[in-house]
């Protein structure tokens, strides 16, 4: 299995980042997941973190090296997130329910299985075009379906952020499982939160994603969304991958050498905005510093040997 993957998250103007993204892969299967938490600061983060962790943990236990039934896996563990939140609410007597959306995809055997709850989306692109995307569980989407509003009105409707289906809410969620889809070499999959898609239209999204591999295109998408954000905007997050060998011949991950029972998981911990002090310092690591560090280590090795 070969793919190039990238994930990123920007806090935007919000005080907290309640989006969570993660991926996990074995030799022959890959999970990508994104959750957008709601319900007070700690609640939303708790719910979103729980969602990505529950799925990645289960994936690590079960994808050895493939999942026997990816759709059932997604349905079961997404419902488990809801149940755990419900128990947590009951045990702590919480008034404000931690809630989260979720969108998750399993890629294995050149097939893609998708499940979602809420308005976090998955886009499937081929040859520069969006060939499918998930439909939001939002109030405006329902109104659109019923013919009450048109696409243009959807984008500016005052209640466009309202969703009727989420994990952790009072109402039992409905996990929407999309039909299994074929994955071809060169296809691009993107999962993103509403903070991103609401600021970058589908066309622009397709244009940027088809211009380069995800490690370049996703930061570009996030940059664009950030530049368009205003004081009411949301956290912006995305995770995506290019399937198979890439156009440029460069590649991030080949799982060919992974043992059958091993799984790699990368969870992204959000970084508070404005807190980038670590990066400039590291960037100044010069060739001289590197030579110096190596000399020190060499000296330590020789000292110990004596």
């Amino acid at each position: 299995m070969k793919f190039t993957i990238h994930q990123g998250s920007r806090q935007g103007p919000r005080k907290y980042n309640q989006d969570r993204v993660a991926y996990s892969y074995s030799r022959d299967s890959m999970l990508t997941v994104l959750a957008d938490g709601m319900g007070g600061h700690s609640g939303g983060e708790f719910a979103a973190q729980l969602a990505v962790k529950t799925l990645t943990d289960a994936f690590q236990r079960m994808a050895l090296p493939i999942l026997a039934n990816p759709s059932k896996f997604l349905a079961d563990y997404i419902m488990q997130v809801h149940d755990v939140i419900e128990n947590h609410v009951a045990a702590k007597g919480l008034i404000d329910h931690p809630r989260t959306t979720i969108v998750a995809a399993i890629a294995q055997n050149d097939e893609l299985y998708v499940a979602h709850v809420g308005d976090s989306r998955l886009y499937h692109l081929r040859n520069g075009k969006v060939i499918s995307r998930t439909e939001d569980h939002s109030k405006v989407q329902l109104m659109f379906r019923r013919g009450l509003i048109n696409l243009g009105q959807m984008a500016i409707h005052p209640e466009r952020n309202k969703i009727y289906n989420c994990l952790g809410g009072d109402v039992k969620p409905k996990v929407e499982l999309s039909e299994k889809r074929g994955l071809r070499d060169g296809d691009t999959i993107l999962l993103c939160s509403d903070g991103l898609w609401s600021l970058v239209g589908d066309e622009k999204m397709a244009e940027i994603l088809s211009s380069d591999t995800v490690n370049i295109a996703i930061p570009e998408l996030l940059d664009l969304a950030e530049s368009r954000a205003d004081s009411k905007s949301d956290n912006m997050s995305a995770i995506g991958f290019n399937w198979g060998g890439t156009v440029s011949g460069k590649l991030s991950v080949s799982t060919a050498i992974m043992p059958l029972d091993s799984v790699t998981t990368i969870l992204m911990n959000p970084q508070p905005a404005g807190d980038e002090s670590a990066v400039p310092e590291a960037a100044t690591l010069t060739d001289e510093d590197i030579e110096h560090a190596i000399a020190e280590i060499q000296a330590a090795i020789n000292n110990v040997r004596k």
Partner: protein
Amino acid sequence: MQEPESHALPEGYRLQEYRIEKVLSGGGFSYVYLARNQRGERVAIKEYLPIALAWRNDGDRVEANSPENLANFRLGLKCFFEEGRALASINHTNIVRVVNFFRANDTVYMVMQYERGKSLQEYIQSHTHPAKEEFVRRLFSEMLNGLREVHARKLLHLDIKPANIYIRLDGSPVLLDFGSARQTLANERANLPLSFTPGFASPEQYANRKLLGPWSDIYSVGASMYACLVRASPPAADLRQHHDTLPPATQIGKGIYSDHLLQIIDWCMKLDPLQRPQSVFALQKALLETPPKDKSLLASIKRKLRL
């Protein structure tokens, strides 16, 4: 499907005075190769190549995979140095030995002694019964000798798990992979993706990294002993904090290990760092105590008959 194109250095590749034989592990922050030096001795070579941040370009050189990731790639390099520094200064039979460290292909390499044997994880998986109590006590108390040495240098391992505890052919343990040790030394706010092993990482590794201490490695030691008992990973610590589904060892291990050892395991796996053994020494002492003799007649007969 196309021919799988690996990111790793190919077999037969000459890397300074070494010749690469095969890839031992990959993914995450580095590749580890089996190689031979000029005298034909086997070594393990770890190459810094964080797959989330870098790739190998058309030559052999390693470069950041996007301008955005360049700073993080360099930050990770700093951490790789910390691991090298930590290990180079330790000469202990239960800690993997670093024999060389050099720069090539625009990245850095750490050469370690290659040990023959298998990991505790492989050992657990190859048996259909829990490891024997005597084995667990001996293996872990020996391994803790090495961990004491690490803690004495104000370092934490932070990724102790059965896959990182190697058992040599003579049965002695070696603690491997200090790749996470950096996390205490590097800037806390570093934007590197954290890579840890759910089930073995302590709760403070997820939530409040200011609380990290020797007790965090001790949690992982407890979880590794727990894995010897149940032959599976325990549930992740952050989930335990919200909803603890971990059955106490004293409950599910009854009759398999002595109550004394089971209590030690539960003690190590307390969610509150303060309630765990506070030092490796305290834990070692407990492990080396002989369990109080079971006074029942049946048990003493069984013991005499070695049943």
